[in-house]
């Protein structure tokens, strides 16, 4: 077990939120076609509120702090926030589209000790990338930002969200990452919008597209191993937790709402009304999330994929039941192995779509 895995185990045993994803704003200078956010400002936390929150997070034991948005650099106080976070010795990762990063911003991030910067790139072709971001010239600006950050010696990862319109470009983006000397990660998941609008899901890649990705050696390594049928689940798997959401990690919105994860819109409290640590320890919602073991999952506990599926409890919650299946992950398991999930079999028998739960602010 790696040192990092050991510390995660320790944090889990001690109930410490070792990772927090904090969105500083939902405002953005791009209008990506698949984005789940509403880009208006409904009352973001002030600089002082965020300073206070950072102190609370440090006191609670948070080590990994991801600052994201929206576009983080839309906040004029972005570097004040990063400076405070680094003063408190967080490991800071920044997610950005890079459009506002030039030499001085890259140098400032280096000076402040940002550990990693993740930048969204949809295609190596400007006509495809810019059509997704709806910002002309955005790919060129993003690539320049990556070069500025690399010049400063910062660790950069290109995040490649895959949709039907850019699926065929993933190898081009991978080559671009190699040329720029940065890491590459892909994400084939599209999530519903915060207002419950599911139309964006139609932008996602098809089952056959997923199958192509999962059988691409350049992306997954050993295809035979990656796509192998799942082994029978043992007791450890059935007693295990679905993921780190609410256990060692959580998400905080620009308005102070606390959720188990950015992809799990179950409101658990608001840091404008309560101390973070009280929400973390006492929220009924977080306690419920923590109580769920694989054996408690209504459909998935009887599924062949239960031990190897990437089932997201947040996506399951958005389908109506946090103990239920996440259809998007069922599809991934199926396309990876060729074995239908228990949920797919049940849906084939019963049919019918479920309503999504929308994100709600705390009362």
């Amino acid at each position: 077990m790696s040192l990092l895995a050991e510390m995660n185990q320790k944090a889990l045993a001690l109930g410490i939120p070792i990772s927090v994803h904090l969105d500083l704003t939902y405002r953005c200078n791009e209008r990506c076609v698949h984005c789940y956010l509403d880009h208006d400002d409904h009352g973001e936390m002030t600089t002082q509120e965020i300073r206070d929150l950072l102190v609370q997070l440090a006191d609670a034991g948070v080590f990994f702090l991801t600052l994201s948005g929206g576009e983080v650099l839309m906040r004029r106080d972005f570097f004040i926030i990063v400076e405070e976070a680094r003063r408190l010795l967080f490991n800071v990762k920044v997610k950005t589209n890079g459009v506002m990063i030039r030499g001085p911003e890259a140098a400032r991030m280096r000076d402040l000790g940002v550990e990693q910067v993740q930048i969204s790139v949809y295609s190596h072709r400007p006509e495809v990338h810019d059509a997704i971001t709806k910002l002309p010239g955005s790919l060129q600006r993003t690539i320049k930002a990556i070069q500025f950050l690399k010049t400063q010696g910062l660790k950069v990862t290109i995040a490649n969200v895959l949709m039907a319109d850019n699926l065929s470009d993933n190898m081009g983006v991978m080559d671009l990452a190699r040329e720029l000397g940065v890491f590459y990660t892909l994400d084939p998941t599209i999530t519903p919008k915060l207002d419950g609008d599911r139309s964006v899901l139609g932008l996602g890649i098809s089952g056959s597209g997923l199958q192509t990705i999962f059988h691409n050696r350049a992306l997954v390594g050993d295809v035979e191993e990656f796509c192998a049928p799942p082994p029978p689940p043992d007791e450890d798997i059935m007693e295990g937790y679905p993921c780190s959401a609410g256990h060692t990690a959580c998400y905080i919105s620009p308005y102070g709402d606390v959720f188990p994860c950015v992809q799990f819109p179950l409101p658990c409290g608001n840091v404008r009304q309560q101390e973070f640590v009280d929400i973390w320890h006492d929220s009924e919602q977080l306690r419920e999330v923590r109580s769920i073991r694989a054996k408690d999952l209504s459909v998935c506990s009887g599924c062949a994929h239960v031990g190897t599926c990437t089932r997201c409890p947040g996506l399951a919650y958005m389908e109506g039941n946090m103990r239920g299946p996440s259809s998007a992950d069922c599809e991934k398991s199926f396309q990876r192995t060729g074995i239908a999930s228990a949920n797919m079999k049940a849906r084939a028998r019963l049919g019918g779509a479920r309503h999504l739960v929308q994100i709600q602010a705390m009362a």
């Binding site: 040192l3 990092l4 050991e6 510390m7 320790k10 944090a11 001690l14 410490i16 070792i18 102190v55 440090a58 006191d59 609670a60 034991g61 948070v62 080590f63 680094r86 003063r87 408190l88 010795l89 967080f90 490991n91 800071v92 000790g113 940002v114 550990e115 990693q116 010696g153 660790k155 640590v277």
Partner: protein, 112 residues
């Protein structure tokens, strides 16, 4: 043994600011922001790291803290401390000098 490792030379140690750190369950987690190397420190190393304010000589940290709080002989404590300091300084996590060091990162918060 080089001059750098000579236990008779007074040495001052200071926490680098190019790190992320948090005390979790008595163990210090540290990650270098320069190369993402991850470390965990045991209780003795954690105490040395917490005392590394750039002003207190290493010998004083060993004599007044380590030998007082742990069952260890002064010689063994000095040898272990020298080894620890050399290793962390190689990764840029501790600054070491024969003069007091002015800039020093604050100690991290301790998780409840």
């Amino acid at each position: 043994m080089s001059d750098r490792e000579c236990p008779s030379a007074e040495r001052y140690i200071a926490r680098s600011s190019a790190i992320a750190a948090r005390l979790v369950g008595g163990e210090m987690m540290i990650m270098s922001t320069a190369d993402s190397t991850f470390f965990t420190l045991n209780e003795v190393a954690t105490l040395i790291w917490q005392q590394a304010d750039g002003r207190t000589p290493l010998s004083e940290i060993v004599d007044k803290k380590i030998c007082q709080e742990f069952e260890v002989t002064p010689d063994q404590a000095r040898r272990d401390a020298e080894h620890f300091v050399n290793e962390l300084s190689q990764h840029g996590i501790l600054q070491v000098s024969e003069q007091p060091i002015i800039s020093c990162a604050p100690p991290p918060a301790e998780a409840p």
